[in-house]
Subunit: 242 residues, 2 copies
C-alpha cells in the first residue's frame, strides 16, 4: 500500500513557518474576498491575475501590462489611483474576458508570497466558488498539502477555516491528517455546512464588511462551485490550471 501524502492546516500566516512546505502544494485561502475574486475573474475569462502587495506596484504593473485593470480596496473603498475594487461582482465575463487583473490585497497576497518564498512546490488559491476544482486537483497530484488560511492581520478567522474544513471533509480519505487544526476545521465545517449563510453572519469579518453594504458579495464568496477553475501561481501570475 502506498503511503498517503500529508495534509496540514495553517490557521494564520503567523503560523505558516511551523508547517513543512517543502515539496508541498499550498492552497492560499482568503474567502472574504481575494481568492473568491481571483477564481471569479479567471472563470470569467481573465487572461491572468497578478497579485501584488503594494499599491505602487499595482499602479506600475497596470501601466506596463497591455489590457490590464488595476484593483484594490481599503476599508470598503477603491484605493485612490486604482480602477476597481475587490468585489467578485465587478468582474463579469463581458468586462474581464481577455484582460489582466492586477490585484492588491492585504492578507491573501501576503500569505501567497510568503508560501512561495518558503520554497513550496506549488501555490494555488481556493475559496468556496472553486471548492471542487481545488479538491480534484489536490487528490490528483499525490503531494503533501498545506491549507493556508490568510486570516485578518494574522488573526484566526472563521471563513477561511470553514473553507479548509470543506476541503478536508471532501478529501480526507486520500491524505494522512494528524493535526488538531485540520480536525477542528472539519468539525466546524460539518457543524455549519447546512446553515453556512446564517452562521457566517456571526463572524467578525462579516460584521466588518457588511458595514460597507457587501452582504451580497459575502453570500457569493461562500457559495460553492460558481467559478470552478483552479488558479495556479506561475511566474508571479495566477493562471487557470489546464
Amino acid at each position: 500500500m502506498n503511503k498517503k501524502p500529508t495534509l496540514f492546516t495553517s490557521l494564520s500566516p503567523a503560523l505558516l513557518h511551523l508547517t513543512n512546505l517543502k515539496d508541498a502544494i499550498v492552497v492560499i485561502i482568503d474567502v472574504f474576498r481575494a481568492t473568491s475574486t481571483i477564481a471569479t475573474a479567471l472563470y470569467n475569462g481573465a487572461t491572468k491575475v497578478v497579485p501584488v502587495a503594494a499599491v505602487d506596484e499595482c499602479k506600475r504593473l497596470g501601466s506596463q501590462i497591455p489590457n490590464a485593470v488595476t484593483a484594490g480596496e481599503r476599508e470598503g473603498k477603491v484605493i485612490e489611483g486604482l480602477q476597481y475594487g475587490n468585489s467578485p461582482a465587478e468582474y463579469p465575463r463581458e468586462f474581464i474576458e481577455g484582460k489582466t487583473l492586477v490585484l492588491t490585497t492585504t492578507n491573501g497576497t501576503k500569505l501567497l508570497h510568503m508560501a512561495f518564498a518558503m520554497g513550496c512546490a506549488e501555490v494555488v488559491t481556493g475559496s468556496f466558488p472553486n471548492l471542487n476544482a481545488v479538491c480534484e486537483y489536490l487528490v490528483s497530484q499525490n503531494k503533501n498539502v498545506v491549507l493556508g488560511c490568510s486570516g485578518w492581520k494574522d488573526l484566526f478567522n472563521l471563513e477561511d477555516t470553514l473553507f479548509a474544513g470543506a476541503v478536508i471533509d471532501r478529501i480526507h480519505e486520500q491524505f494522512a491528517i494528524h493535526d488538531d487544526a485540520s480536525l477542528m476545521a472539519q468539525q466546524i465545517y460539518r457543524l455549519h455546512q447546512n446553515n453556512l449563510f446564517k452562521f457566517i453572519q456571526n463572524t467578525t469579518h462579516w460584521h466588518r464588511l457588511a458595514a460597507y453594504g457587501l452582504q451580497k458579495d459575502l453570500h457569493y464568496c461562500i457559495t460553492p462551485n460558481v467559478a470552478n477553475v483552479l488558479p495556479v501561481f506561475r511566474n508571479n501570475e495566477l493562471v487557470v490550471y489546464q
Copy 2:
C-alpha cells in the same frame, strides 16, 4: 448600563502579540499537563509553584528554596537531575503539602513569562481541574480577559481550545466577545462537552502522551473542578488566590 469588559482568545503563543494585554487578566492554559498539575499541587497544599523555563534554573532554585521539590519531563521521562515529573498524580496532599514545587515545562511556562513581560494586569492559570475557580474570578474582577492557549511548540491544539471554550460558555454573558477564535472555541466545546473523554482521544497531544502510558493523567486533566483553586502569578511564583 456599564460597558462590559472584553474577552479574547489567543490560540497560540505566536499570536499573543495580536491581543491587547494592557490592563487585562491573562489566563494561561496548558491542559496537558502544566496548568492541570499547578492547580493540583496548590489544591493539595503546596505553598507555591515556581514555573521556570530552563532546567538549570529549576535545579538552582530547587537547591536554594527550603522544602522545595524540582520537577520536569521531556518525552515522558523525568529530566536528569530533577526529582519528579509533570503528572498531577505525583502531587497528592500527603506529599506536596507545605512544599514548594519548582516546575519546568515548555509551552505553558513560555507563555506565562511572555504574557507577564507584555505588561498585562495579572496572570492566572487554568485547566479543567480548576474551571469554576477561573470563571468565578474572571466574572468578579470586571477587567478585560485574554484566554491564552499554550499550544504545542506554537501549534494550535484542541485541548487548550476546549478549555477556553468551556470558560467562554460559562461567562460569555458578562463579557463583550467579538473574535472568531472565541466563537470557534465555544462551538467546539459545546459540540463535545458531553463526550469530552472520547473526543480528546482524537487529538495529536493525546496520541503523543498516551504513547507514554499517560491515559489516566489525561483523563484527570479534562475532569472539571477536581482541584478548584485559582493560581495567581505574583513575584515570579504561583500562589492560591485568597
